[in-house]
């Protein structure tokens, strides 16, 4: 059936309005970040940011926390997802339930529970490393699902038996056979985690750690132009990570962890 002209018109009106609504804030952010007072537009806000030692500090901190979260998540989730797919399908429901639980307990509630429960030792709770514990939990539903999808595409039974009949132990099997076979899923999970940690605000703000998102919010209250530039940088990094992830992982991104 050919759609009526009215229906086609409605269709393109919806697409156009959607495009405007999603495009305008980004355009406004970009223009605002170039505004240098009056009618002058230049890159001074970006230069200002790059000279601010706090930018390097907070971005560096968030970057490090992201790397730590990625490594710890992979070390925890890869063996678990592997084993669930190979030998313990009964545990699939348990992990699925835990993923749902981390939606039911939002970040603002979880951080309350964490800070009420852990008051020491100082070397753990008093440093930003404490955030990693929360970030691993926050990223779990995404890392688990991405890696699980990657593992499901493999014939784990055959791969394991072949490797073990050649004398490989579990460690060799995981490191040299399974991991290379799911490299796309690993990269996808890593990028997703990176984007989540870089934009994470709730944990850091409540626990009073100066991460990148906390810094952007702080700048936003006093200097609006540099804040716009920072937001654009954050947006670009996040989107790049997400786009690469969509490309390599072919996975769907549903809910993010930073709202």
């Amino acid at each position: 059936m050919r759609a009526s002209p009215a229906a086609q018109g409605g269709r393109w009106l919806v697409i156009l309005l959607g495009f405007l609504y999603f495009f305008l804030p980004i355009l406004a952010l970009a223009i605002f970040s170039l505004w240098a007072g009056g009618t002058r537009y230049d890159f001074s806000a970006y230069a200002h940011i790059l000279q601010d030692p706090q930018f390097r500090q907070t971005f560096g901190l968030s970057f490090m926390l992201a790397l730590e979260t990625i490594v710890i998540s992979l070390v925890l989730v890869v063996p678990a997802a592997f084993w669930v797919n190979l030998r313990a399908p009964g545990l699939r429901n348990v992990l699925g339930l835990l993923s749902v639980l981390s939606f039911v307990v939002p970040p603002i509630v979880l951080v309350g529970g964490l800070s009420a429960l852990y008051r020491g030792p100082e070397w753990f709770v008093g440093t930003p490393q404490f955030l990693v514990a929360g970030y691993v939990v926050l990223a779990l539903p995404y890392t688990y699902r991405t890696l699980d999808t990657g593992l499901r595409a493999l014939d784990l039974q055959t791969l394991s038996e072949a490797a073990q009949s050649l004398g490989a132990g579990w460690g060799t099997l995981l490191w040299r056979v399974i991991l290379p076979n799911i490299s796309a899923a690993v990269l996808g999970a890593a990028l997703l985690t990176f984007a989540i940690v870089l934009g994470e605000f709730t944990f850091a703000n409540v626990l009073l750690f100066n991460t990148f998102a906390v810094y952007i919010n702080y700048i936003g209250q006093t200097q609006s132009t540099p804040a716009a530039a920072l937001s654009l940088i954050s947006l670009a990094v996040t989107w790049l990570a997400m786009l690469v992830m969509l490309r390599v992982g072919r996975g769907r991104v549903a809910l993010g962890g930073t709202r």
Partner: protein, 309 residues
């Protein structure tokens, strides 16, 4: 020895005499592979969540020692400011969920429905995956640059004589927040509803037309009833998505708007003179709403997946 085709089965069921040892070994390796993840989740998700639940019922003890059990904190929730917070949170989540469902659904159908522009399909899905994750502080600042008092659109409109802020619009209030939330709700809806739209088979439409149905009749009697569980499930998930959000609202209103997550944050950061148990009672309220939300979502999702094979 049995036929070689039963190899995997033999591996899975060990011979009877060694069953006990094998069983123990299987249990041990399961603990080794899955144990660390479960231990971390126990320590940093389950126990903290449980601590919140218990803390909501705990009285203050002396010198940091836990006190007895009490319902006093739950009764404190009846104070007007927390009831306002709950009402605002429910309205904001409900409103942005409805906006997201309707507009996201229409947008998805405009691109991916029968006769839509096929070349836009993949860009829309990719963009939605990305935009659904654009939230928090940068999103709030993007809207300030667009519709704030000196935002681009605000200035453009005042240039042609329309002063938004004199007409009662204010980005930093409830209505403005709803507009900002729509930015991550609409793309999430597109992602969630795409499988259901794909499941809406062309043959059904053709069959309806052959029987003389108009487009309106098709939608009323076939299309919407088939889509209804998926639409409802997505709306419920969108509701939960907004209900648990914190960063965007905090960055936009500096935590001043009475919303449940912001109130929990205020109690936690000690901006308000209050006891931690009150924060836990508020958190209990959020967990209760989110539990109902997720239960409704899983039930509706199961109903909706019936048509997708």
């Amino acid at each position: 020895m049995k036929a070689s085709t039963e190899g995997p089965a033999l591996l899975a069921v060990p011979p009877a005499p060694r069953a006990g040892r094998e069983h123990r070994r299987a249990w041990l390796s399961t603990a080794l592979f899955v144990g660390p993840l479960l231990a971390v989740l126990l320590a940093f998700l389950i126990v903290p969540a449980f601590a919140v639940l218990v803390g909501a019922f705990r009285a203050d003890g002396v010198d940091g020692a836990p006190g007895g059990f009490t319902l006093a904190h739950l009764r404190e929730l009846a104070q007007p400011q927390y009831m306002t917070g709950l009402r605002n949170s429910l309205l904001l989540s409900g409103g942005s969920a409805v906006i997201g469902t309707v507009i996201g659904g229409l947008l998805a159908y405009a691109v991916m429905g029968d006769g839509g522009p096929a070349w836009l399909r993949n860009p829309l899905i990719a963009f939605s995956g990305v935009a659904a994750n654009f939230a928090g502080v940068p999103l709030a600042l993007a809207f300030v640059a667009t519709l704030g008092t000196t935002g681009m659109v605000t200035r453009l409109l005042s240039g042609i004589g329309i002063n938004l802020y004199q007409h009662g619009f204010n980005l930093f209030t409830f209505g403005g927040l709803m507009l900002v939330y729509a930015y991550f709700q609409i793309p999430l809806m597109v992602i969630l509803i795409t499988p259901a739209l794909d499941g809406l088979r062309r043959e059904w439409r053709e069959a309806a037309e052959n029987l003389g149905a108009s487009a309106a009749q098709f939608w009323r009697m076939v299309g919407l009833p088939v889509l209804a569980p998926s639409l409802l499930a997505s709306a419920v998930l969108l509701f939960g998505n907004a209900f648990s959000a914190y960063a965007t609202a905090y960055a936009l209103t500096s935590g001043a708007l009475p919303l449940l997550p912001l109130q929990i944050g205020a109690v936690l950061s000690g901006n308000v003179l209050s006891d931690p148990h009150l924060g836990q009672a508020l958190a209990l309220l959020v967990i209760a709403v989110m539990t109902v939300t997720m239960l409704a979502y899983t039930t509706l999702e199961r109903l909706g997946s019936r048509w997708r094979r």
